[in-house]
């Protein structure tokens, strides 16, 4: 080749590499288009409201529009499945529950499993409890246990089979050697209504009961999923206080992205989300809904998955749901 041709070739390849580098740098700038945040539950619920607050918050920080899409259904499984199918490019996020990721795939054939996601953070968790009517004769959990031992087969309503709270009640039952009859309903408020109308003896409270306890219609006898008494309600014991092993681990409210999300993008998102959850406005929302503020970063959330899956596998094998 002649010298001038070589120079031209060199120049061309330099330009190409330069161009490639430049475009590489350009795409490294995230985010540069709108983000969609899915919410795994119906509009108006606690997850929905908190999710929307998160979205509004990170919109301001990241500078791109963040649109919300509700995709409730199947106990969060529909939304989980949808997100698992999306590209891990940081433009699709999901607010969902830990339980639906760790526990549900054990029971149902789903389009995802715990490895399909990269958790970004946890901001709260769902707490369940054993709740009776305020005018029932059970004033403490001990009264209740005594009565239940003599009268097996008390009925209770729940927001669905294998929900955190229902498993909590069953774990409680096994610890105290009791037998209950479980009556599933379609959601938290229908379960509460059944108790209010005295069609069942108690309810596996799923969070919405706290409102009714404060109003004086219900009484919570024991709280599941937490290790220490709620400072706002010190007279309600936890499982440890009544001599029982902890129930299933609390199901956290988390934000996830599809697995395979690049670390750089994840870091940006995690920082932005963390900033929002630490803001006083967000904390106010949690307080209004009686949700605990429980921040955990993405890596911590992911690291807890295996232990949870193991807990549930053991539990389902013991209760005969899994062979």
């Amino acid at each position: 080749m002649t010298i001038s041709k070589r120079f031209r070739l060199a120049g061309l390849s330099l330009m190409l590499t330069g161009g490639l580098l430049a475009s590489g740098l350009a795409t490294a700038k995230y985010p540069d288009k709108p983000i969609t945040m899915y919410i795994a539950f119906a509009a108006g619920g606690t997850t929905d409201i908190t999710g929307r607050a998160l979205a509004q918050g990170i919109e301001k920080i990241l500078g791109v529009p963040v649109t919300i899409e509700n995709k409730g259904g199947g106990g969060a499984t529909v939304a989980n499945g949808l997100l698992a199918s999306k590209k891990p490019d940081g433009y699709n996020l999901l607010v969902t529950s830990v339980g639906s990721i760790t526990m549900r795939p054990l029971l149902l054939k789903l389009a995802y499993n715990a490895q399909s996601f990269r958790p970004l953070l946890q901001f709260s968790y769902y707490i369940g409890g054993l709740v009776v009517n305020a005018d029932s004769p059970f004033k403490t959990v001990d009264d209740f246990v005594d009565y239940a031992k003599k009268n097996p087969g008390l009925t209770y309503s729940s927001s669905g089979p294998h929900t955190q709270q229902q498993i909590g009640v069953e774990a409680f039952a096994r610890c105290k050697g009791l037998v209950f009859k479980h009556m599933p309903t379609k959601g938290g408020s229908t379960a509460n209504t059944a108790l209010m109308g005295k069609h069942v003896d108690f309810v596996a409270g799923s969070g919405s009961h706290i409102l009714l306890v404060e109003q004086g219609q219900f009484r919570e006898l024991v709280t599941f999923h937490i290790d220490a008494r709620d400072p706002k309600r010190p007279d309600i014991p936890v499982m440890k206080d009544i001599g029982c092993p902890p129930t299933n681990p609390p199901s956290g409210m988390i934000v996830v992205a599809p697995a395979g999300l690049p670390d750089a993008v994840a870091a940006t998102l995690e920082a932005a989300l963390k900033q929002v959850t630490e803001s006083p406005e967000f904390k106010q929302i949690l307080i209004k809904y009686n949700l605990p503020y429980a921040y955990e970063d993405g890596a911590t959330v992911a690291s807890k998955f295996p232990a949870e899956i193991e807990w549930y596998t053991k539990y389902f094998k013991e209760t005969g749901l899994l062979k």
């Binding site: 119906a42 509009a43 108006g44 619920g45 606690t46 929905d48 409201i49 929307r52 509004q56 899409e69 509700n70 995709k71 409730g72 259904g73 199947g74 106990g75 499984t77 529909v78 499945g81 949808l82 029971l107 149902l108 054939k109 789903l110 389009a111 087969g153 009925t155 669905g160 089979p161 294998h162 009859k181 479980h182 009556m183 599933p184 309903t185 379609k186 408020s189 229908t190 509460n192 209504t193 059944a194 209010m196 109308g197 005295k198 069609h199 069942v200 409102l211 009714l212 404060e214 109003q215 004086g216 219609q217 929302i285 209004k288 809904y289």
Partner: protein, 504 residues
């Protein structure tokens, strides 16, 4: 507290300029949303929810409520005009309402729907004011056995909807029950008949089902024929209901309002149930039952009144007990909580201005709806004169958007098309879709309440007769069944007797 005092408190809140403004916005958006089939008020309310963060709780509730009953009425408009019911509560309105529209009587249909809804709303509000707490406690006494009995009665009443063959309608109801089974089993949490499709985990969905079976199928049927003119064949006469129309509609509106109000208090399915019980009742008491299904105005007036009264009644469990009766109330509950208000028995005492302000704003909202929609009737009617060739693609477009936006799911569009084809074939072979849809709505409640009742009773069926309310409904159902079958038996007997006489 004196009722007059409460009303004064209420109106003083509701008539504040910014509350009127937000009420109007809510009603307007609600109507727009409601007119688009498929997208329910839930979608609109959840999108607008963040806007309410900055305003006072009363104003927020007023606006969100406005969206709710605005959407109710908007849905009726589409049902009547183009025969696409966007949700279950509009299905019954469509049966006769759309027929009226096809006969050039869209004006009176829309008009009586508007007035009927307004009257029912007013009656409902009065009921809300006077009877809220006692009714709420009655609603609580409805447990699984009572719901089961109510559903059985509902299914029996469904048969009265039959226009042609009773056997075919009953069979369609059975198919509807089957369609309702698809999805997650509430009691076991396991999927049934979902064929591995995640979108079906929540069931088929009333919107794709209704929009397909009625809307798309009608398009497919019409497209086959070679009429190249407007939907409405005959000349459009009046825009408003005539005196005769009012005569035929007044009693149905009254009956429908009471029926709707009572059933609307029950969390879950109250509005739909009341709309078709009203329809069946009107058909039964009418002197011209054969007109039903072909444009009887009583068949529009009654159900419209019923489902609007039910919409008002649905507020009762929320405001008095803090129980949301349906998804819409769920959003209102969330809105109240975010404003720091805990709905429940104490709410009326602690926040009287919220309760009474909301109640009185309903009057204003209902009046606004009337004022907003009546002039539009002329516009809507003119729309129907457009050539079908231009109209139906637009209707199809609206149906596609409506069905997609509910869940953002492609599957819903496929489902709508699938049921469109099914509905097309069904109507060709002379099977009615209405009983199918209505049974579909009842199916989950029927099944869940049966199994829940048996859990409570420990396996004994006696629970249905030992509890008075449940036993009452079952008795009524039995009577209705007998009275439906009796004429047929009598006819056969008479025929036998006659032939015996002949042969004697």
């Amino acid at each position: 507290m004196d009722l007059a005092d409460n009303l004064i408190t209420g109106f003083s809140v509701a008539l504040q300029p910014h509350n009127i403004f937000f009420c109007f916005i809510g009603v307007l958006i609600g109507t727009l949303i409601g007119v688009l089939p498929g997208i329910g008020p839930v979608g609109a309310m959840s999108i607008l929810l963040p806007i309410t963060f900055g305003i006072s709780p009363v104003t927020a509730i007023i606006m969100l409520s406005g969206i709710y009953y605005g959407a109710q009425y908007g849905g009726s408009t589409t049902s009547i005009l183009v025969g696409i019911p966007g949700e279950a509560a509009s299905v019954v309105t469509m049966l006769d309402g759309h027929q009226m529209a096809l006969k050039g009587r869209a004006g009176p249909a829309l008009g009586i729907a508007a007035f009927g809804s307004f009257i029912a709303g007013t009656i409902g509000i009065i009921g809300l004011m006077l009877l809220a707490p006692p009714l709420a406690s009655i609603a609580l006494r409805f447990g699984p056995p009572e719901y089961f009995a109510l559903m059985i009665m509902g299914l029996v009443i469904l048969t009265y909807l039959a226009q042609k063959s009773m056997a075919k309608s009953l069979m369609m109801a059975g198919v509807g029950v089957l369609a309702g089974v698809v999805g997650l089993d509430t009691m076991t949490g396991l999927p049934r008949f979902t064929f591995g499709i995640p979108d079906l985990l929540d069931g088929i969905g009333i919107a794709p089902l209704a929009m397909g079976l009625f809307g798309v199928s009608e398009i497919l049927l019409n497209v086959e024929k070679t009429i190249k003119q407007g939907v409405v064949v005959s000349q459009v006469k009046n825009l408003l209901p005539s005196r005769q129309d009012w005569k035929e509609s007044f009693a149905p509106i009254m009956r429908g309002s009471f029926l709707g109000f009572l059933l609307g208090i029950l969390p879950g399915g109250g509005a739909v149930l009341s709309s078709f019980i009203s329809y069946s009742t009107e058909k039964r008491v009418s002197k011209t039952p054969e007109k039903f299904g072909h444009g009887a105005i009583a068949g529009v007036a009654g159900p419209e009144a019923a489902n609007n009264a039910a919409a008002q009644a649905a507020f009762i469990p929320l405001l008095t007990l803090g129980i949301p009766a349906n998804a819409v109330m769920g959003i209102l509950l969330g809105a109240l909580m975010i404003h720091g208000i805990t709905p429940g028995p104490l709410m009326i005492q602690k926040n009287p201005e919220l309760f009474w302000g909301t109640v009185t704003s309903m009057y204003i909202g209902n009046a606004m709806l009337l004022v907003l929609n009546l002039p539009l009737i002329g516009l809507w009617v003119r729309l129907l004169r457009v050539r079908y060739a231009v109209l139906f693609p637009l209707i199809l477009f609206i149906a596609l958007i409506g069905a997609y936006v509910i869940n953002g799911s492609e599957m819903d569009l496929y489902l709508m098309l699938f049921f469109g084809v099914v509905g097309y074939l069904m109507r060709k072979f002379d099977y009615e879709p209405a009983p199918l849809i209505l049974a579909y709505v009842l199916s989950p409640i029927l099944e869940d309440s049966l199994r829940q009742s048996l859990i409570i009773s420990g396996g004994s069926m006696g629970i249905f007769v030992s509890r008075p309310i449940a036993a009452g409904f079952l008795f009524i159902a039995l009577m209705l069944l007998i009275s439906a079958v009796l004429p047929a038996i009598r006819k056969k007997r008479n025929a036998l007797v006659a032939s015996a006489d002949e042969n004697a």
